[in-house]
Protein backbone atom coordinates (compact mmCIF):
# COMPACT_ATOMS: atom_id res chain seq x y z
CA UNK A 1 0.00 0.00 0.00
CA UNK A 2 2.71 2.41 1.03
CA UNK A 3 4.79 1.36 -1.98
CA UNK A 4 1.88 2.10 -4.34
CA UNK A 5 1.31 5.50 -2.79
CA UNK A 6 5.02 6.24 -3.05
CA UNK A 7 5.03 5.18 -6.70
CA UNK A 8 2.00 7.30 -7.49
CA UNK A 9 3.53 10.28 -5.73
CA UNK A 10 6.79 9.90 -7.69
CA UNK A 11 4.95 9.61 -10.98
CA UNK A 12 2.82 12.61 -10.10
CA UNK A 13 5.92 14.68 -9.37
CA UNK A 14 7.48 13.50 -12.65
CA UNK A 15 4.40 14.34 -14.68
CA UNK A 16 3.97 17.73 -13.09
CA UNK A 17 7.64 18.45 -13.77
CA UNK A 18 7.09 17.75 -17.46
CA UNK A 19 3.92 19.82 -17.45
CA UNK A 20 5.74 22.63 -15.66
CA UNK A 21 8.47 22.42 -18.27
CA UNK A 22 5.98 22.71 -21.15
CA UNK A 23 4.49 25.55 -19.20
CA UNK A 24 7.68 27.68 -19.01
CA UNK A 25 8.42 27.03 -22.68
CA UNK A 26 4.95 28.21 -23.65
CA UNK A 27 5.09 31.19 -21.29
CA UNK A 28 8.39 32.50 -22.60
CA UNK A 29 7.35 32.00 -26.22
CA UNK A 30 4.12 33.87 -25.57
CA UNK A 31 6.03 36.75 -23.99
CA UNK A 32 8.42 36.95 -26.94
CA UNK A 33 5.52 36.79 -29.38
CA UNK A 34 3.87 39.73 -27.64
CA UNK A 35 7.24 41.55 -27.90
CA UNK A 36 7.02 41.04 -31.65
CA UNK A 37 3.44 42.32 -31.78
CA UNK A 38 4.42 45.46 -29.91
CA UNK A 39 7.53 45.92 -32.04
CA UNK A 40 5.37 45.77 -35.15
CA UNK A 41 3.25 48.64 -33.84
CA UNK A 42 6.37 50.60 -32.97
CA UNK A 43 7.90 49.99 -36.38
CA UNK A 44 4.76 51.15 -38.17
CA UNK A 45 4.98 54.44 -36.29
CA UNK A 46 8.73 54.75 -36.82
CA UNK A 47 8.32 54.20 -40.59
CA UNK A 48 5.48 56.73 -40.80
CA UNK A 49 2.93 54.09 -41.80
CA UNK A 50 0.87 54.86 -38.71
CA UNK A 51 0.43 58.25 -37.00
CA UNK A 52 2.71 58.62 -34.01
CA UNK A 53 0.97 57.97 -30.68
CA UNK A 54 3.03 58.72 -27.57
CA UNK A 55 0.86 56.50 -25.37
CA UNK A 56 1.19 53.53 -27.72
CA UNK A 57 4.95 54.07 -27.87
CA UNK A 58 5.22 54.11 -24.09
CA UNK A 59 3.03 50.99 -23.90
CA UNK A 60 5.46 49.18 -26.21
CA UNK A 61 8.51 50.02 -24.10
CA UNK A 62 6.56 49.10 -20.95
CA UNK A 63 5.78 45.69 -22.43
CA UNK A 64 9.48 45.22 -23.26
CA UNK A 65 10.42 46.14 -19.70
CA UNK A 66 7.81 43.77 -18.28
CA UNK A 67 8.96 40.96 -20.54
CA UNK A 68 12.55 41.34 -19.40
CA UNK A 69 11.49 40.77 -15.80
CA UNK A 70 8.85 38.08 -16.41
CA UNK A 71 10.91 35.98 -18.80
CA UNK A 72 14.08 35.89 -16.68
CA UNK A 73 13.08 32.93 -14.42
CA UNK A 74 11.61 30.90 -17.28
CA UNK A 75 14.84 29.12 -18.27
CA UNK A 76 15.31 26.28 -15.77
CA UNK A 77 17.72 23.44 -16.47
CA UNK A 78 16.31 20.80 -18.82
CA UNK A 79 13.88 23.17 -20.47
CA UNK A 80 15.54 23.20 -23.90
CA UNK A 81 12.75 23.18 -26.45
CA UNK A 82 12.76 21.73 -29.96
CA UNK A 83 11.38 23.37 -33.08
CA UNK A 84 7.88 22.18 -33.98
CA UNK A 85 5.80 22.16 -37.15
CA UNK A 86 4.29 25.51 -36.08
CA UNK A 87 7.37 27.22 -34.75
CA UNK A 88 10.82 26.91 -36.33
CA UNK A 89 12.49 28.83 -33.47
CA UNK A 90 13.99 27.24 -30.37
CA UNK A 91 16.27 28.15 -27.47
CA UNK A 92 19.95 27.49 -28.10
CA UNK A 93 21.87 25.34 -25.59
CA UNK A 94 24.22 28.35 -25.39
CA UNK A 95 21.74 29.96 -23.00
CA UNK A 96 22.53 27.40 -20.32
CA UNK A 97 26.24 27.52 -21.13
CA UNK A 98 26.26 31.29 -20.63
CA UNK A 99 23.44 31.85 -18.14
CA UNK A 100 25.21 34.84 -16.53
CA UNK A 101 25.54 36.71 -19.82
CA UNK A 102 22.00 35.74 -20.84
CA UNK A 103 20.47 37.00 -17.61
CA UNK A 104 22.60 40.17 -17.70
CA UNK A 105 21.32 40.96 -21.20
CA UNK A 106 17.73 40.57 -20.01
CA UNK A 107 18.35 42.97 -17.14
CA UNK A 108 19.85 45.53 -19.53
CA UNK A 109 16.95 45.06 -21.96
CA UNK A 110 14.61 45.95 -19.11
CA UNK A 111 16.49 49.00 -17.87
CA UNK A 112 17.08 50.36 -21.39
CA UNK A 113 13.41 49.88 -22.28
CA UNK A 114 12.36 51.66 -19.10
CA UNK A 115 14.73 54.55 -19.87
CA UNK A 116 13.45 54.73 -23.44
CA UNK A 117 9.83 54.89 -22.31
CA UNK A 118 10.64 57.73 -19.93
CA UNK A 119 12.71 59.75 -22.40
CA UNK A 120 10.63 59.76 -25.59
CA UNK A 121 8.50 62.77 -26.33
CA UNK A 122 8.00 62.91 -30.11
CA UNK A 123 8.44 60.91 -33.32
CA UNK A 124 12.14 61.71 -33.72
CA UNK A 125 13.13 60.75 -30.20
CA UNK A 126 10.97 57.65 -30.54
CA UNK A 127 12.62 56.55 -33.80
CA UNK A 128 16.09 56.85 -32.29
CA UNK A 129 15.12 54.96 -29.13
CA UNK A 130 13.30 52.21 -31.03
CA UNK A 131 16.18 51.52 -33.45
CA UNK A 132 18.60 51.47 -30.54
CA UNK A 133 16.66 48.87 -28.60
CA UNK A 134 16.13 46.75 -31.71
CA UNK A 135 19.78 46.72 -32.65
CA UNK A 136 21.38 46.48 -29.24
CA UNK A 137 19.00 44.04 -27.63
CA UNK A 138 16.75 42.09 -29.97
CA UNK A 139 19.24 41.23 -32.72
CA UNK A 140 22.20 40.60 -30.42
CA UNK A 141 20.39 38.11 -28.23
CA UNK A 142 18.73 36.33 -31.14
CA UNK A 143 22.03 36.00 -32.94
CA UNK A 144 23.65 34.25 -30.04
CA UNK A 145 20.85 32.49 -28.21
CA UNK A 146 18.09 31.64 -30.67
CA UNK A 147 18.13 28.86 -33.26
CA UNK A 148 16.01 28.61 -36.39
CA UNK A 149 15.24 25.43 -38.27
CA UNK A 150 13.46 25.70 -41.61
Amino acid sequence: MLRTMFAIATIAVGVSAVVAQQDVIKQRKDLMKENGNQAKIGAAMAKGEKPFDLEAARKMFAQFEETATKVAPLWPENSIDQPTADDPYSASPKIWENMDDFKARLVKFGTDSKAAGASIKDLDSFKAAFTNIGKNHCTGCHEKYRLKKE
Partner: protein, 311 residues
Protein backbone atom coordinates in the same frame (compact mmCIF):
# COMPACT_ATOMS: atom_id res chain seq x y z
CA UNK B 1 52.62 3.32 -76.41
CA UNK B 2 54.50 6.42 -77.52
CA UNK B 3 51.27 7.93 -78.84
CA UNK B 4 49.58 7.38 -75.47
CA UNK B 5 52.49 9.04 -73.63
CA UNK B 6 52.41 11.94 -76.09
CA UNK B 7 48.70 12.43 -75.57
CA UNK B 8 49.17 12.36 -71.81
CA UNK B 9 51.85 15.05 -71.96
CA UNK B 10 49.70 17.14 -74.29
CA UNK B 11 46.74 16.72 -71.98
CA UNK B 12 48.71 17.76 -68.92
CA UNK B 13 50.16 20.74 -70.77
CA UNK B 14 46.66 21.83 -71.76
CA UNK B 15 45.50 21.45 -68.19
CA UNK B 16 48.43 23.52 -67.00
CA UNK B 17 47.64 26.29 -69.47
CA UNK B 18 43.92 26.16 -68.71
CA UNK B 19 44.46 26.54 -65.00
CA UNK B 20 46.96 29.40 -65.23
CA UNK B 21 45.95 32.21 -62.90
CA UNK B 22 45.08 35.50 -64.59
CA UNK B 23 46.57 38.69 -63.16
CA UNK B 24 46.19 42.43 -63.60
CA UNK B 25 49.38 44.14 -64.77
CA UNK B 26 50.39 47.29 -62.90
CA UNK B 27 50.90 49.35 -66.05
CA UNK B 28 47.23 50.07 -66.90
CA UNK B 29 46.48 51.58 -63.46
CA UNK B 30 46.55 55.40 -63.85
CA UNK B 31 47.54 57.85 -61.12
CA UNK B 32 44.65 58.73 -58.82
CA UNK B 33 43.86 60.17 -55.40
CA UNK B 34 41.82 57.60 -53.49
CA UNK B 35 38.43 58.47 -51.95
CA UNK B 36 38.68 57.00 -48.44
CA UNK B 37 35.02 57.67 -47.64
CA UNK B 38 34.03 55.60 -50.63
CA UNK B 39 36.59 53.01 -49.56
CA UNK B 40 34.88 52.73 -46.19
CA UNK B 41 31.47 52.36 -47.84
CA UNK B 42 32.87 49.53 -49.98
CA UNK B 43 34.33 47.99 -46.82
CA UNK B 44 30.93 48.12 -45.11
CA UNK B 45 28.81 46.76 -47.96
CA UNK B 46 31.60 44.36 -48.98
CA UNK B 47 31.33 42.76 -45.57
CA UNK B 48 35.11 42.32 -45.34
CA UNK B 49 35.11 42.47 -41.54
CA UNK B 50 32.52 39.70 -41.24
CA UNK B 51 35.02 37.13 -42.50
CA UNK B 52 38.42 38.78 -42.03
CA UNK B 53 38.19 40.34 -38.56
CA UNK B 54 39.91 38.42 -35.76
CA UNK B 55 37.10 36.24 -34.41
CA UNK B 56 35.44 36.21 -30.99
CA UNK B 57 32.89 33.80 -29.44
CA UNK B 58 30.74 36.84 -28.85
CA UNK B 59 30.24 38.53 -32.20
CA UNK B 60 29.40 41.81 -30.53
CA UNK B 61 32.92 41.96 -29.08
CA UNK B 62 34.65 41.72 -32.49
CA UNK B 63 36.72 44.76 -33.50
CA UNK B 64 35.75 44.95 -37.15
CA UNK B 65 38.79 47.08 -38.03
CA UNK B 66 41.32 44.48 -36.92
CA UNK B 67 41.51 42.19 -39.92
CA UNK B 68 43.84 39.54 -38.55
CA UNK B 69 41.85 36.66 -40.03
CA UNK B 70 41.50 33.23 -38.43
CA UNK B 71 37.78 32.58 -38.72
CA UNK B 72 37.06 28.93 -39.59
CA UNK B 73 34.52 28.42 -42.39
CA UNK B 74 33.27 24.82 -42.59
CA UNK B 75 32.09 23.73 -46.03
CA UNK B 76 31.30 20.52 -47.93
CA UNK B 77 34.96 20.53 -49.11
CA UNK B 78 36.60 20.90 -45.72
CA UNK B 79 37.36 23.92 -43.55
CA UNK B 80 38.66 27.23 -44.87
CA UNK B 81 40.69 29.47 -42.57
CA UNK B 82 40.25 33.14 -43.44
CA UNK B 83 43.59 34.94 -44.04
CA UNK B 84 45.02 38.08 -42.46
CA UNK B 85 44.31 41.09 -44.70
CA UNK B 86 45.48 43.77 -42.28
CA UNK B 87 48.22 46.08 -43.62
CA UNK B 88 50.90 44.15 -41.71
CA UNK B 89 53.79 44.04 -44.16
CA UNK B 90 54.99 40.54 -43.24
CA UNK B 91 51.84 38.64 -42.33
CA UNK B 92 49.03 40.66 -43.92
CA UNK B 93 48.69 42.47 -47.24
CA UNK B 94 50.89 45.45 -46.33
CA UNK B 95 53.39 44.69 -49.09
CA UNK B 96 50.76 44.18 -51.81
CA UNK B 97 50.70 46.56 -54.77
CA UNK B 98 47.37 48.01 -55.87
CA UNK B 99 47.40 45.74 -58.92
CA UNK B 100 47.77 42.72 -56.63
CA UNK B 101 44.60 43.69 -54.81
CA UNK B 102 42.69 44.19 -58.07
CA UNK B 103 43.90 40.76 -59.25
CA UNK B 104 42.61 39.20 -56.08
CA UNK B 105 39.16 40.75 -56.25
CA UNK B 106 38.65 40.54 -60.01
CA UNK B 107 40.42 37.32 -60.89
CA UNK B 108 40.78 35.44 -57.64
CA UNK B 109 44.57 35.36 -57.97
CA UNK B 110 47.16 35.97 -55.25
CA UNK B 111 50.29 38.17 -55.72
CA UNK B 112 52.34 34.98 -55.76
CA UNK B 113 50.30 33.90 -58.77
CA UNK B 114 48.26 31.25 -56.95
CA UNK B 115 44.58 30.55 -57.40
CA UNK B 116 42.34 31.77 -54.57
CA UNK B 117 39.45 29.59 -53.41
CA UNK B 118 36.02 31.02 -54.31
CA UNK B 119 35.09 30.88 -50.64
CA UNK B 120 36.46 34.39 -51.13
CA UNK B 121 33.55 35.70 -53.25
CA UNK B 122 35.52 37.16 -56.15
CA UNK B 123 32.72 35.79 -58.33
CA UNK B 124 30.81 38.84 -57.09
CA UNK B 125 33.69 41.24 -56.43
CA UNK B 126 34.79 40.98 -60.09
CA UNK B 127 31.75 43.14 -60.89
CA UNK B 128 33.14 45.99 -58.77
CA UNK B 129 34.31 49.09 -60.61
CA UNK B 130 38.06 49.63 -60.69
CA UNK B 131 37.92 52.90 -58.77
CA UNK B 132 35.86 51.30 -56.00
CA UNK B 133 38.38 48.46 -55.67
CA UNK B 134 41.22 50.99 -55.53
CA UNK B 135 39.39 53.08 -52.91
CA UNK B 136 38.76 49.96 -50.85
CA UNK B 137 42.47 49.06 -50.97
CA UNK B 138 43.42 52.56 -49.87
CA UNK B 139 40.95 52.33 -46.96
CA UNK B 140 42.27 48.92 -45.87
CA UNK B 141 45.77 50.39 -45.72
CA UNK B 142 44.58 52.90 -43.09
CA UNK B 143 43.51 50.13 -40.68
CA UNK B 144 45.78 48.84 -37.88
CA UNK B 145 48.36 46.17 -38.83
CA UNK B 146 47.75 42.87 -37.06
CA UNK B 147 50.52 40.30 -36.72
CA UNK B 148 49.96 36.60 -37.17
CA UNK B 149 49.87 34.45 -40.29
CA UNK B 150 46.82 32.22 -40.36
CA UNK B 151 47.15 28.46 -40.98
CA UNK B 152 46.33 26.99 -44.39
CA UNK B 153 42.93 25.54 -45.29
CA UNK B 154 42.02 22.00 -44.27
CA UNK B 155 40.53 20.53 -47.44
CA UNK B 156 40.08 16.99 -48.71
CA UNK B 157 41.74 15.71 -51.90
CA UNK B 158 41.45 16.85 -54.72
CA UNK B 159 40.11 20.18 -53.45
CA UNK B 160 43.44 20.77 -51.72
CA UNK B 161 45.11 21.23 -55.12
CA UNK B 162 44.87 24.97 -55.73
CA UNK B 163 45.77 24.79 -59.39
CA UNK B 164 42.56 22.89 -60.14
CA UNK B 165 40.54 25.99 -59.23
CA UNK B 166 41.60 27.13 -62.69
CA UNK B 167 39.20 24.56 -64.13
CA UNK B 168 36.43 25.80 -61.86
CA UNK B 169 37.08 29.35 -63.01
CA UNK B 170 37.08 28.27 -66.65
CA UNK B 171 33.69 26.68 -66.12
CA UNK B 172 32.04 29.20 -63.84
CA UNK B 173 33.81 32.56 -63.54
CA UNK B 174 31.98 35.10 -65.70
CA UNK B 175 31.30 38.76 -66.08
CA UNK B 176 33.03 42.09 -65.81
CA UNK B 177 32.61 45.35 -63.89
CA UNK B 178 28.98 46.38 -63.58
CA UNK B 179 27.53 48.67 -66.22
CA UNK B 180 24.37 50.71 -65.63
CA UNK B 181 21.08 49.81 -67.25
CA UNK B 182 19.93 53.03 -68.97
CA UNK B 183 16.21 52.19 -68.78
CA UNK B 184 16.36 51.94 -64.98
CA UNK B 185 16.52 54.74 -62.40
CA UNK B 186 19.86 55.83 -60.88
CA UNK B 187 18.56 54.46 -57.56
CA UNK B 188 17.87 51.03 -59.09
CA UNK B 189 21.29 51.00 -60.72
CA UNK B 190 23.01 51.90 -57.47
CA UNK B 191 21.10 49.11 -55.74
CA UNK B 192 21.89 46.62 -58.51
CA UNK B 193 25.57 47.48 -58.21
CA UNK B 194 25.72 47.28 -54.42
CA UNK B 195 23.86 43.95 -54.34
CA UNK B 196 25.66 42.19 -57.19
CA UNK B 197 29.19 43.52 -56.75
CA UNK B 198 30.47 44.41 -53.27
CA UNK B 199 27.34 43.22 -51.42
CA UNK B 200 27.65 39.70 -52.87
CA UNK B 201 24.17 38.88 -51.53
CA UNK B 202 23.59 36.12 -54.07
CA UNK B 203 26.57 34.17 -52.69
CA UNK B 204 24.44 33.15 -49.69
CA UNK B 205 20.94 33.64 -51.07
CA UNK B 206 21.34 31.25 -54.05
CA UNK B 207 21.50 27.47 -54.39
CA UNK B 208 24.72 25.92 -55.73
CA UNK B 209 25.50 22.91 -57.92
CA UNK B 210 27.67 19.97 -56.95
CA UNK B 211 30.85 21.96 -57.70
CA UNK B 212 29.59 24.77 -55.49
CA UNK B 213 28.90 27.22 -58.30
CA UNK B 214 25.74 29.34 -58.10
CA UNK B 215 22.83 28.02 -60.17
CA UNK B 216 22.20 31.14 -62.23
CA UNK B 217 18.55 30.48 -62.99
CA UNK B 218 17.84 30.38 -59.24
CA UNK B 219 19.96 33.33 -58.18
CA UNK B 220 18.53 34.90 -55.00
CA UNK B 221 16.00 32.08 -54.65
CA UNK B 222 17.50 30.77 -51.41
CA UNK B 223 19.45 27.67 -50.47
CA UNK B 224 21.43 25.98 -47.67
CA UNK B 225 23.85 28.06 -45.58
CA UNK B 226 27.53 27.64 -46.55
CA UNK B 227 28.13 25.26 -43.64
CA UNK B 228 25.14 23.21 -44.72
CA UNK B 229 23.36 23.45 -41.38
CA UNK B 230 20.77 26.17 -41.92
CA UNK B 231 18.67 27.73 -44.64
CA UNK B 232 18.99 31.10 -46.38
CA UNK B 233 15.63 32.46 -47.60
CA UNK B 234 14.40 33.23 -51.09
CA UNK B 235 14.57 37.03 -51.48
CA UNK B 236 12.90 37.22 -54.87
CA UNK B 237 9.19 38.14 -54.71
CA UNK B 238 8.40 34.41 -54.36
CA UNK B 239 9.91 34.71 -50.90
CA UNK B 240 9.42 38.35 -49.94
CA UNK B 241 5.79 38.62 -51.06
CA UNK B 242 4.79 35.55 -49.04
CA UNK B 243 6.84 35.88 -45.90
CA UNK B 244 6.37 33.37 -43.05
CA UNK B 245 3.16 31.71 -41.88
CA UNK B 246 1.45 35.09 -41.93
CA UNK B 247 2.07 35.39 -45.70
CA UNK B 248 3.26 38.97 -45.33
CA UNK B 249 4.43 41.08 -48.27
CA UNK B 250 7.60 43.17 -47.76
CA UNK B 251 7.45 46.74 -49.09
CA UNK B 252 10.58 48.58 -50.30
CA UNK B 253 10.43 50.51 -47.04
CA UNK B 254 10.31 47.24 -45.05
CA UNK B 255 13.45 45.99 -46.80
CA UNK B 256 15.29 49.27 -46.32
CA UNK B 257 14.47 49.52 -42.61
CA UNK B 258 15.28 45.82 -42.13
CA UNK B 259 18.80 46.51 -43.42
CA UNK B 260 19.06 49.15 -40.71
CA UNK B 261 17.63 47.44 -37.64
CA UNK B 262 17.11 43.75 -38.49
CA UNK B 263 13.36 43.80 -37.98
CA UNK B 264 11.09 41.85 -40.34
CA UNK B 265 7.54 43.02 -41.09
CA UNK B 266 6.25 40.43 -38.57
CA UNK B 267 7.93 42.34 -35.76
CA UNK B 268 10.61 39.66 -35.45
CA UNK B 269 14.28 40.57 -35.11
CA UNK B 270 16.53 38.39 -37.20
CA UNK B 271 19.31 36.30 -35.68
CA UNK B 272 21.75 33.91 -37.34
CA UNK B 273 24.07 34.91 -40.17
CA UNK B 274 21.82 37.73 -41.37
CA UNK B 275 22.31 39.59 -38.09
CA UNK B 276 25.96 39.93 -39.09
CA UNK B 277 24.96 41.31 -42.49
CA UNK B 278 22.69 43.90 -40.86
CA UNK B 279 25.63 44.90 -38.66
CA UNK B 280 27.28 46.02 -41.90
CA UNK B 281 24.31 47.44 -43.80
CA UNK B 282 23.30 49.55 -40.82
CA UNK B 283 26.50 51.54 -41.47
CA UNK B 284 25.48 52.50 -45.00
CA UNK B 285 23.67 55.72 -45.84
CA UNK B 286 19.85 55.58 -45.91
CA UNK B 287 20.12 56.40 -49.64
CA UNK B 288 22.19 53.26 -50.24
CA UNK B 289 19.88 51.07 -48.15
CA UNK B 290 16.95 52.42 -50.12
CA UNK B 291 18.75 51.67 -53.37
CA UNK B 292 19.41 48.08 -52.29
CA UNK B 293 15.77 47.70 -51.25
CA UNK B 294 14.55 49.11 -54.58
CA UNK B 295 16.65 46.62 -56.51
CA UNK B 296 15.78 43.61 -54.36
CA UNK B 297 12.07 44.40 -54.63
CA UNK B 298 12.44 44.44 -58.42
CA UNK B 299 14.01 40.98 -58.75
CA UNK B 300 12.16 38.62 -61.08
CA UNK B 301 10.20 36.03 -59.07
CA UNK B 302 12.10 32.75 -59.00
CA UNK B 303 11.20 29.46 -57.38
CA UNK B 304 14.19 28.05 -55.58
CA UNK B 305 14.88 24.75 -53.84
CA UNK B 306 12.63 23.78 -50.95
CA UNK B 307 14.22 23.66 -47.50
CA UNK B 308 14.51 20.10 -46.13
CA UNK B 309 11.43 18.92 -44.24
CA UNK B 310 11.43 19.46 -40.49
CA UNK B 311 11.88 16.28 -38.50
Amino acid sequence: MLVAAGLLVAGLAALWALTAPATVLPSPLPERTPDLDNGRTMFDIGGCASCHATPNEDREKIDRLRLGGGLALPSPFGTFYVPNISPDTKEGIGSWREADFVSALWNGTSPAGEQLYPAFPYTSYRHMRLDDVRDLFAYLKTLPPVAGRIRGHDLGFPFSIRRLIGIWKFLFLRGAPFTSVPSQSPEWNRGAYLVNAPGHCAECHSPRNILAAIIDSERFAGGPTPDGKGWVPNITPVGLQHWSKEDIAWSVKDIASFLDDGMTPSGDFVGGAMAEVVRNTTLLSPVDRNAIATYIASLPPRQGPRPPRKK
